[in-house]
Amino acid sequence: MKVKTSRFGELDVPRDKIIHMPLGILGFQNSFNYFILDHSEDTPFKWLQSADEPDLAFVIIDPYQFKPDYNIQVISDDLAPIQTKSVEDIVIAVLVSIHGDPRLMTGNLLAPLLVNYKKMLGMQLVLNNSNYNTRCNILDEMQKNRELIIQREQNKMEDKIREEQERAVVKRVSSI
């Protein structure tokens, strides 16, 4: 389908790439359909562009890129709007604010974006009982977690193997 955007011109977006957000994003109650645009492969930032309002686009990022220990408690009722009970169907992103100065960019950890990629349904989940805030300074947080982030980058493969081994152990333990 053809989608007009003010930043990227007119785009042809396959219908199966449209994320329907039945509750919209708070403050923007005229937009219920979005899609994710890669800026380039070489950046952790992506765009969440509205398919309903050409001007409306958000910069988003995978929170684990700067907050590797990000941990949200979700109950299955929370996920009802995106029709799943399993966190395995979900990818998480957070909205980024630049505040006029890129060095001050923040990620909204209090209200992450959850997308059920199997059904292409999304929602902004407001964490009612959480100590996270809406303005986590991304660069500062990265510095705090720098070693962990770098280590993760470098050991992605090793981590994968380790995870598989751990899973095997859990399986073995649970079968005892």
């Binding site: 039945p22 708070l26 950046t43 952790p44 980024v96 890129p102 909204n108 209090l110």
Partner: protein
């Protein structure tokens, strides 16, 4: 604004789907229970306002993420 006086255990219906119950009153604090369908998310007022405000700030996105990408990468390399 509609203002009602209620006692502990009393409830209010908003439409036919949303029920609000006064559960406990302790000094200046009131515990409230809300029974609402899942498609009616319930927020604390101050959190709702903070999220709205932050979403509006996020929507003032630049036209390119080149600047923030460069900063992000530089930030990881620092102190190497």
């Amino acid at each position: 604004m509609l203002t009602l006086t209620r006692k502990v255990g009393d409830s209010i219906y908003i439409g036919k789907d949303v029920m609000v119950v006064i559960k406990e009153i302790k000094g200046k604090q009131v515990r409230i229970g809300v029974n609402a369908p899942l498609e009616y998310p319930v927020y604390r007022g101050e959190i709702f306002e903070r999220i709205m405000e932050e979403n509006r700030a996020s929507a003032m996105a630049p036209h390119s993420v080149d600047d923030i990408t460069a900063l992000f990468k530089k930030n990881l390399k620092k102190e190497d």
